[in-house]
Amino acid sequence: MNDSIAAVKNEKTKDEACRKADGEVRMAFAEISPGVVSRAKCGDEDAFHLIFNRYGRPVLSFIHNFVHDRELAEELAQETFVRAHRNLGGLKDDLRLSTWLFGIARNVVREAARQARKDDMKVGLDEPESLRLESKGILPEGALLDRELTEAIRKALIALDEDKRTVFSLKIFHEKSYEEISAITGHSIGKLKTDLHRARLEMRKRIAPYLSMGAAT
């Protein structure tokens, strides 16, 4: 009897929390407020859709930095969001949603890499399939240089080892703090700083010729 009363009370509290969060969902278009996360935790599909809309691109791009294959990146991003939905209840701090999502994405990528190694896939991670310069069409000089620089950066990124690429991508592209990157990767801040510094030096070395060409023109 007492149990059923307690259960009803719990449901009521949960419902109230969900209703409260509902109000915040409508307000949250640009950024994801903790209310949206609470709402998604209550099983609101629209709230989870908002989360996907907000973080779909960064998560997909983060994954793409590792796999360089759009189809595979989308498959892994899909897996990331399905896992996130499945384990949303385990997210303790709603404000750390993005950190948590990147952490899942990183795990998913690592698992895929492991699996790819296991399967000895012919086309897989870091295959420079998507890196070939498309030579079709004549481009203006500036655009060509831009394209070459883009490819140089892409190649330089691929040349970084996993740890350096992770910290570089999260810090430079996604503007995460060291603390957040540490939460995502499990590495100490000291290691992250060292890796980022080395990553920058390697990147600089690889793209320097393109930068000087740009300066000369």
Binding site: F52, G56, H64, R70, E74, V82, G90, N107, M203
Partner: protein, 304 residues
Amino acid sequence: MNCERCKNELEDFLYDELGEARGAEVRAHLADCAVCADLRDEIERENEIFGRFYEQTSIEPAAEMWGAIRARINSEARERARIDRGAWSPAFRPLDSGGLKAGLQALFRRARAGTFGRLLAPATLRQAAFAALLVALSVTATTIYLKLGDDGAKNSARKGEETAPSRPPQQSVTPTPAPSIDIARSGEKPNNGLSATKDAKPPVDRAAPPRQLTDQELMNRQIARAEREYQKAIRMLDQAIAKQRDRLDPALIKQYESSLALIDDSINASRRALRERPDDPAAGQFLLAAYAKKLDLMQDIAMK
């Protein structure tokens, strides 16, 4: 501040990761040192290029991606609802052969499901499923045996005095039962002290009819056996989970461990209840249900 220290802290300064005081020191040094200021400009220029690169190369999710995610989420929700509807875990429905079949199907379906289902060593999964199957078969067999035993008893009662007079059931039970093979295998010593040495073994009366166990004893023995099978399956899954622990989400591991602790509490409470009320069939059922829940949870984690 000298140039060396400024170089070391420059990136942190640009990322706003230095405290107020140190940030002010770097700022002051940059105002006075042209070399360090050039380095700052270079880093800022690089960051601008990298930012442009990200803007150009980051990809928008395809329109159908949300649809695919939604479909998978809904399908998982349906599966969970189906599992929650049953009082017993689908991996263990001992008294219902349909449930057993459904449980095993669910087990293998879940093993196959998803891109990463294949990451779990299939051998471990097969072994765990086999252990669960053994548990289910063993308890089902007991139930059938007990049912047949009841029918047999009724039949013999009907036959009346045609057969040799049988002793009442209570008399057929040895006061200090010999340990079962399973117990002997598991290294537990019998408590009658007679088998402490080889020589002390009591003479075996081969002409004596096989000792009949009471329903209660049989059920207890089957529960003990089921418990061992569950523990075997749990050990296997535990090893599988330990192997992939480092690539699981830490929040998930935390949640898993707290759920596991709750289930373990429930197992211990059920075991205590069974010890206190060995003739209460519900206590045994609770114990096995708790094990089934644990197995279910571990399978879920192992297949993530």
